[in-house]
Symmetry: C2
Subunit: 320 residues, 2 copies
Amino acid sequence: VRALVYDPVTRRASVRRDVCPPQVHPGEARVRVVRAGICRTDIEILRGYVPFTGTLGHEFVGVVEDAHGRDDLVGARVVGEINVPCGACVSCRAGRGHHCPSRTVMGIVGRDGCIADAVVLPVANLHVVPAPVSDEAAVFAEPVAAAFRIAEQVDLSAVERALVMGDGKLGLLVAMALAPRVGALTLSGRHAHKLAIAARAGIPTVLSGAREPGEFDLVVECTGRPEGLREALGRVRPLGTVVLKSTIAGETTAPLSMGVVNEVTVVGSRCGPFPPALEALASGRIDPRPLIEARYPLDDAEDALAHAARAGALKVLVGA
Amino acid sequence: VRALVYDPVTRRASVRRDVCPPQVHPGEARVRVVRAGICRTDIEILRGYVPFTGTLGHEFVGVVEDAHGRDDLVGARVVGEINVPCGACVSCRAGRGHHCPSRTVMGIVGRDGCIADAVVLPVANLHVVPAPVSDEAAVFAEPVAAAFRIAEQVDLSAVERALVMGDGKLGLLVAMALAPRVGALTLSGRHAHKLAIAARAGIPTVLSGAREPGEFDLVVECTGRPEGLREALGRVRPLGTVVLKSTIAGETTAPLSMGVVNEVTVVGSRCGPFPPALEALASGRIDPRPLIEARYPLDDAEDALAHAARAGALKVLVGA
């Protein structure tokens, strides 16, 4: 079968046509990939963020071909959670499987990803996609779930004024996910054409550099830039919360004594719950399709990756 | 009267004998200072941490000489909270007076401090010291309160394993304050003679550099070193909490993507509640007197400051 395979020695990814079909072990299912998405994290892997080797990709929608002991799932249209915990360690037994130190992560840590003809995941990781959700919306389930993670970590009902920093894919989805759940939300970014996507969804926007007035109860850092934390600490009110969404290679420098004096809480935030994400996509409360910038067939996945790596690129899809 | 006055132009503090007695405005009290303590923050001010000018010092015990409209307080032995909010702004009306942007802070921001014959504070900032608390223990009320601030910010009942990093004054007091309230607490530091103070109080200690086994639910960073956050992020478990206590001049560099992937919460923590601090001092649950390294008369306050600035110095008291 075909797959977009990353080689950490050359730091290049290339489409191979001779990859063995992924094996299905007990408890697992093989999914024929219909559409995959390229994420900022994939680009960071090419820049050395984690020492990965294998097939890239962790956003997909597909159809179950083979499910060990769960024949009822064959033919179902599914999306999949990316973390595969060991199930036996202290973290897993404490209910923190997403942070299992032995976990694999599809397309990121020790497990092949989904920019391929097929991908294998545990059945427990799969979620059936509701009929109203198109394939091109369903492929956003993983990043939309990551946006909803914030609602599990922060008491949004107490947030009167929120700022989402960064008008990239994640910033736009975070803004769409949080806007109905806080008093008022502003999205700041550097690109008028991306801010326009949020504006059309009814979200107030501001070009960064322009003064965002006042101070915010909650600031979500989605810029993907090392200086994002510094800017976030300058925007949040004393006793407020900064959520860090960007996973970037390298070091961050910030005047943290300001965070101490202002008693700010800084929370790291990663993967999130799929059910509310699929619900928001099914109801149309979140429509991610305006974020799609380009579509490439799997044979041209290298071009798709190069396109997604361009500064300012929005979502690039791969499939069929 | 006498006062230890800091001059930001020369970056030097000197004892002056010709300072006018501080004025008592409505709602305020003048306190004759019996003992004052020197804090790491005082040393940071000399290094440019904040652009302060005036009398240094924010830890004291003293006797009320004059209290505007509260004659009943005259003669009472008191300690004092250091933040003086404006009382009228949005922050103050929201109950966040400690973070009032117009606040003054005794000996730190726009208000004379207590390394002097007398200090003036609002009556509302004063707390009467219970009789069992000696003067030399009472002067620790402010830093012990800062230690108790953590209990207001973190659910300690859920903490099975805690690590306090740093065996300086604040680290020792934080360890003493938290140890009875968490499952198990370890203090790490670089100085065997300081760790011995905690060990005599029944707290397990470890020389840093030695491997502290495992990962901690809560790590409190009290090292005062810029690399402290990096080390704390390496010690805390996924989904755990890091409390930052050090207010240091300059920038901090840390690999925050690790904090994002592990979904760590980082909380800045500053001043705290005096009542539980005075209660712990009165009951003897916290005995800070082993932290006293030296005593200087007010006339020799410059020497006291130089002593406190030595690497590894514990508490230096000034008074009488």
